[in-house]
């Protein structure tokens, strides 16, 4: 569970998040909104890359903002990036192992945990892929490497920043299956940011909508997507 109260982020004179109040309970939750609405800024606050001007964030009862950024990842805040950031020169295995070895988990289960995460994303369908260097993979596979990095070990909060951006339909469909399975597989609260509404609808029971840094709606995904304010600000009229 994550509770956000009065979260405000300013870049100079621009307010990127404006007194944001939000609670996500469990499962996979959606966070949508037009470009520049503050979605990635919100993820950056949770990851510790951006220091908010005001507000509090409690995740599973822990004050997240008081933790150093790299400690948050060790504690269990994991994320993917809008521009995919799997480490090109390392193998798939090493990409995932790297996250595990910097977590608080012991080395004894590292190998099995890493292979489990790779298997969870389906990247081991070809037995050679875990040993392949990331630079040799397709865009879809690289996105899955990022997801495997996010779910390895015991994540508490998985933040997925437009994981389906630029992917063909078949790969988006597989990615959707993986995202839906994250909460059950890891027990982590998963927040999905994406512009693909069919993916958000398929994966998220709950969704919140940001516009110009303000939360304009939140609740069950189907109801949110029918909300007039959301249609006006983001979805448009068909």
């Amino acid at each position: 569970m994550i509770e956000v109260e009065g979260l405000t982020v300013r870049y100079g004179g621009v307010t990127s998040l404006d007194d944001m109040n939000l609670t996500f309970e469990q499962g996979t939750c959606g966070l949508i909104g037009p470009n520049g609405a503050g979605k990635t800024t919100f993820f950056n606050v949770l990851s510790g890359f951006v220091r908010p001007a005001a507000g509090t964030v409690r995740a599973f009862g822990v004050d997240l903002l008081s933790m150093a950024h790299f400690r948050r990842a060790r504690w269990g805040v994991r994320r993917t990036f809008q521009t995919e950031q799997a480490i090109e020169e390392l193998s798939v295995f090493d990409n995932v192992a790297m996250v595990h070895e910097h977590s608080r988990l012991g080395a004894s289960t590292r190998r099995s945990d890493v292979l489990d995460a790779i298997g969870f994303t389906g990247l081991d369908a070809d037995a050679k892929t875990p040993d392949a260097r990331v630079r040799t993979l397709t865009a879809g596979q690289r996105r899955l490497v990022e997801v495997a990095r996010a779910v390895v070990g015991r994540p508490r909060l998985v933040l997925l920043d437009e994981p389906a951006a630029g992917l063909p339909e078949a790969e988006t469909s597989h990615l959707g299956e993986v995202i839906r399975a994250i909460p059950e597989h890891t027990g982590a609260l998963t927040i999905l940011v994406d512009h693909d509404m069919s993916l958000v609808s398929a994966c998220c029971a709950t969704t919140a909508v940001l516009d110009f840094g303000k939360l304009i709606a939140s609740g069950p995904t189907a109801a949110v997507l029918r909300n007039d304010d959301v249609i006006r600000a983001y979805l448009g009229v068909a």
């Binding site: 990851s47 790299f70 990036f81 950031q85 480490i87 790297m98 910097h102 099995s112 037995a127 990095r149």
Partner: protein, 353 residues
């Protein structure tokens, strides 16, 4: 979903070394055996001394490669760090009777502390500003060394006596007192430093450095303490350069501050880029360019000043056509040439029939 997937057998992943790895290990072993046992028999004393310098500077370029190639930190002050290592080793060699390996270890550790302390403020900077700061620090260290001078067997903390007439040479290890033996000694020390770096690259720090170099946000998101790992790289590079300084002290017997000009750090970075910062072979190629090539030109009566032009063109060539350096480009181009010849030869044979 997991049950529907064909899972890789965990035992098959990352267990067996590949055929290419075995071939590479065999080639490296043969090359090392040749360098250690055959090369000193084949070369004149002039070239043996030159190759000792190559061994020393391969450690320095290796350290530069760790900083620039692994973590993305550009240092223009590595010659000054080398001078610190040489100074400390010379001082300890004059002042104590400790075994040479212990002296090298101490020189490496003291240089490591000095390198980390001076480099600490620079860690907040990147790119051009970091390069400029390291260059200025190197300049400052050179000025200090010019003032205090290198130890020459005098007394006191600095170990320098300007009125000494007969300056004793800096001693070498008893097992490596002559030039061929000292060359072998330098190569063995260099091998140990290369293995030290290899042990880092293949394990946790190497993976963390790879992540930091590609994307600091991705590294943070993986739980990597970026400051710690940058410091680690800086400490490792300083340690290796300090050890190289210790080997250099024994190689040349007499040290003078004029032998460590600040501008040499720029040339050193240029040859390191030319050799290739991403591969350990690149460090060896860079050291050959930096020490062997001038010696060769000198032997042929050609002015070494031409090298400044050559290195300038070389860096331009590498930056535009081969960012991974000659160590990557030459084997790749030779393989292409081989493929081309294989394609052409059957054709020409067919035409003659």
């Amino acid at each position: 979903m997991r049950d529907t997937l064909v899972r890789a057998d965990p035992r098959s992943v990352r267990q067996k070394p590949g055929r290419s790895q075995l071939i590479r290990a065999a080639v490296v072993t043969v090359l090392l055996l040749f360098t250690l046992f055959a090369l000193p028999q084949l070369l004149s004393l002039y070239y043996i001394d030159t190759m000792t310098q190559v061994a020393v500077y391969s450690m320095v370029t290796l350290a530069l490669g760790v900083l620039a190639g692994r973590v993305g930190l550009v240092s223009l002050g590595q010659v000054a760090v080398l001078a610190i290592g040489a100074w400390v080793a010379a001082r300890l060699l004059f002042a104590t009777t400790q075994p040479y390996p212990v002296i090298l270890l101490e020189a490496g550790l003291i240089t490591m502390v000095a390198g980390v302390v001076t480099g600490l403020p620079a860690l907040r900077l990147r790119g051009l500003y970091l390069a400029l700061i390291t260059l200025m620090l190197a300049g400052a260290i050179t000025v200090v060394l010019a003032t205090v001078n290198f130890p020459n067997g005098g007394h006191g903390f600095l170990g320098y006596n300007g009125s000494l007439v007969h300056i004793p040479p800096i001693r070498r290890p008893s097992i490596a007192s002559n030039d061929p033996a000292y060359f072998r000694y330098a190569v063995v020390v260099a091998i140990l430093m290369f293995l030290l770096v290899l042990a880092h690259i293949k394990t946790k720090p190497g993976r963390a450095w790879a992540a930091i170099r590609q994307s600091e946000p991705a590294a943070l998101a993986a739980g990597i303490n970026i400051t710690l790992y940058k410091l680690w790289a800086l400490a490792l590079a300083s340690f290796i350069t300090g050890v190289a300084g210790g080997v250099l002290a024994g190689a040349v017997h007499y040290l003078y501050s004029i032998g460590f000009p600040t501008q040499d750090s720029i040339t050193l970075l240029a040859v390191t880029l030319m050799g290739g910062v991403y591969s350990m072979w690149g460090a060896v190629v860079a050291a050959l360019l930096y020490q062997f090539l001038p010696a060769l030109l000198n032997n042929w009566g050609v002015s070494a000043d031409w090298l400044t032009i050559l290195f300038g063109l070389g860096v331009l060539q590498v930056l535009t056509t081969a960012p991974a350096g000659l160590a990557d480009q030459v084997p790749r181009d030779l393989a292409r040439l081989g493929r081309l010849l294989r394609r052409r030869l059957p054709q020409s044979q067919g035409q003659t029939k």
